[in-house]
Symmetry: C2
Subunit: 440 residues, 2 copies
């Protein structure tokens, strides 16, 4: 019987834990701060154990790790390095769905020397994106072709049938994390030119993408696409872009919110004494008497703009105070968004992953190859986000323990030994890509 330790019991844990418990040769321990969350996940399964753990308690954390065969960390990434170091000490494999940071990469040699696999970025984005991309890329190379352009899009959204608020957005992931990402910079390669997108221009630099079977979305740049040229081994590209998908109207409104200073975490307002309306007035230096007029002129948009209606709908123009004390505009916006942009019972999310390649073959033959995954949550059960993040990690953990993945070191799922069996298993669970090829 192999023992798996799952650290954390957050949004994506349920499908991961349930998948692993279905394997008769595995025992699963979920250790998390709030015991009841772990108990809910285990649901009295005979091969499951729920435990309370404060990850700051190094002794307890080490004890848990040393008694497992493999560790899956669903903790915030800040904890991954500690966990990884304990894994090296106790000689345990580690699986995370987080991006590999330099601190993690630095452990590569040590992990290799101990014959350990530290598999990261095995969720959806990063994760499924890598795997679906590499299947196309490796396939193209096998056919003697090369990838000359790669645009990759991913978005976690409300499903169409649950898209019933003026923002076209609901949080299926950490709200603060989503909002912080609004301050990212971006960079990509377009027709051989480097395109830099500063945080200030993030939501001005977007376009519409028609995704077959899903709809039309806005796409804005998702961080730096350049590292993926090497990661994917496609030094032949003249275009390499990674973008985030959102519903129509998102970028313009979030951009204007940004211009108003609503993503600012530094300024503080005494919200115990100030209404949202007064905060808005102060942000633009208005006396508040003609706030909509002043805001429109500050933003350079018409007064009737839908963005201003959205602000009102969210409560930003309200005279009613919110239950916060000293807080930033970012905190105020986060508070209001978390209150109103939520999934109600029975509502479901949508996970869209859409890759667009141009492949060049001998004799100048060119093909557009697209790979598209449209995954919708199950009403009353798991979200698409939870399934697409949690299941790849769970499947990979199973494959490692069964000896079907024998790599070592710090890895991400860009090699066939990982992506082939994981994609195949995801396919049997209904999570798959539709690939389309058209001559160009």
């Amino acid at each position: 019987m192999k023992k798996i330790l799952v650290l954390g019991a957050g949004l994506v844990a349920r499908p991961l834990v349930r998948y692993l418990l279905e394997e008769p040769e595995f025992e699963v321990t979920v250790a998390t701060r709030t015991l009841s969350k772990a108990e809910t996940l285990i649901d009295r399964h005979p091969r499951g154990t729920a435990k309370s753990l404060n990850v700051e308690d190094t002794t307890a954390l080490k004890a848990f790790i040393s008694s497992a065969d493999l560790v899956i960390s669903l903790l915030p990434w800040i904890h991954h390095i500690d966990v990884a170091k304990h894994c090296i000490e106790s000689r345990k494999h580690l699986v995370t769905t987080s991006y590999v940071k330099p601190e993690m990469q630095a452990l590569d040699a040590e992990a290799k020397n101990s014959g350990l696999l530290f598999l990261n970025e095995i969720g959806v984005d990063p994760g499924i994106d890598h795997m679906a991309a590499m299947r196309v890329i490796d396939g193209t190379k096998k056919e003697g072709g090369e990838i000359v352009s790669f645009y990759s899009y991913c978005g976690g959204l409300p499903a169409l049938e649950s898209n019933n608020n003026p923002f076209g957005y609901k949080f299926s992931w950490s709200p603060v994390g989503v909002m912080l990402a609004a301050n990212n910079n971006g960079r990509y390669l377009k027709d051989g030119q480097v395109v830099q997108v500063t945080s200030e221009k993030l939501f001005e630099h977007y376009w519409l993408v028609d995704v077959p079977g899903a709809g039309t979305f806005e796409a804005y740049v998702n961080r730096d696409a350049f590292p993926y040229i090497d990661i994917y081994g496609i030094q032949t590209v003249h275009s390499m872009y990674r973008g985030t998908l959102r519903n129509i109207g998102h970028c313009e409104s979030w951009n204007l919110f940004k211009k108003l200073g609503l993503f600012d975490q530094d300024r503080q307002f005494p919200l115990q004494d100030m209404s949202p309306r007064r905060v808005m007035a102060e942000l633009i230096g208005s006396d508040g008497e003609h706030l909509v007029e002043d805001m429109a002129s500050f933003l350079g948009i018409p007064e009737y703009s839908v963005t201003i209606k959205k602000m009102a709908w969210l409560g930003l123009l309200s005279d009613h105070k919110v239950p916060l004390s000293d807080a930033s505009p970012f905190d105020l916006l986060a508070h209001l968004m978390q209150k109103k942009l939520i999934f109600e019972d029975g509502e479901v999310d949508l996970l869209v992953q859409h890759h667009e390649f141009i492949a060049e073959f001998r004799q100048d033959r060119k093909e557009k190859i697209t790979a598209t995954m449209v995954e919708t949550g199950v009403p009353g059960e798991d979200s698409a986000m939870a399934r697409t993040v949690g299941l790849p990690a769970a499947i990979a953990a199973g494959l490692i323990l069964k000896g079907k993945i024998t790599l070592s070191g710090v890895q991400i799922p860009v090699v066939p030994e990982i992506y082939e069996p994981v994609l195949t298993e995801l396919g049997t669970m209904g999570i798959g890509f539709e690939e389309r090829r058209t001559p160009v």
Copy 2:
């Protein structure tokens, strides 16, 4: 056996014809220009007959009318008066789903004298809106209360799950009709003040409405609400508004399209020689070299505005000519919208009707009363639009022929003799209103 003549076989005819054919005591003849359309509707039903008819052929039209017991005209309203006059001549009842125009109203006395009922406005809007409103209004009066405020909203939209284009709109009704309505004026009463909304301001004068069970929509004014104060017998109101519902972002974009002159039917461009992009440049006096920049500055919006992305998506910025010759900007816009804003197989529409009343009772007790209908089309079968327009007319025609409605003259369904049995029957077919009452 009673004989019903249905004139026209347009978008809403199918549920109407099928409903009437289910009644064993009715024979239904569908007469329309294109015989095959009538044949499809009748589908070889033993009590149905499909006929070809050119309504301009008065002799043929008269012959059809004289051999029926009741006429349902689904023709464009321009034909209704001729049909009505023939109905008086042949002493036949008439049912239409169109607004009563003065020419129709002028036939009231003649119809009454002949004991004939000319029942109009018995579709959804107008139609179901009247009936649901009157049920609340008459109910309130019976309780000794009075209506002091009435906001009525209605919209024909794509259902959420079919809302997959950047406009949030699809045509479930005559596209040109929908687009012409963009040039309407509007008028309503708000807190005792008359609010005039000129055509130019139609899409600037809107607000967001949360409709329980359906989502958040934009509402803009639907023509003149004042006549409804008398029609509904609610002279006690200080607010009376009728509005059209659209998805988020609609008003801003359509307004900007209007400012560009895209709803202009007077100017002509040789589209056989000019691309849409060149038309757009000419409309704003740009040399076309920096069209997006010029357009943004012309409209007073940022260059990255989603409205400009929507234009591009629709094809308005394309260098490829469209298959039109001399045509107006309106024609160009209609052509592009009809090509892209359509329901694909399996996609469905949504009909939302939402009334919000304030009723005042003795001792200053006030209640907010809402009545909401959310009707979704059936994939592969009838649209919500077809069912909600066609079925009330069909039900009313049946009730007239069975002697259960015995009114005469030119009528609309605001009297209990009509609205009670029609709403009851619609309810048995799953088309119903949810009424909510909350103290205010």
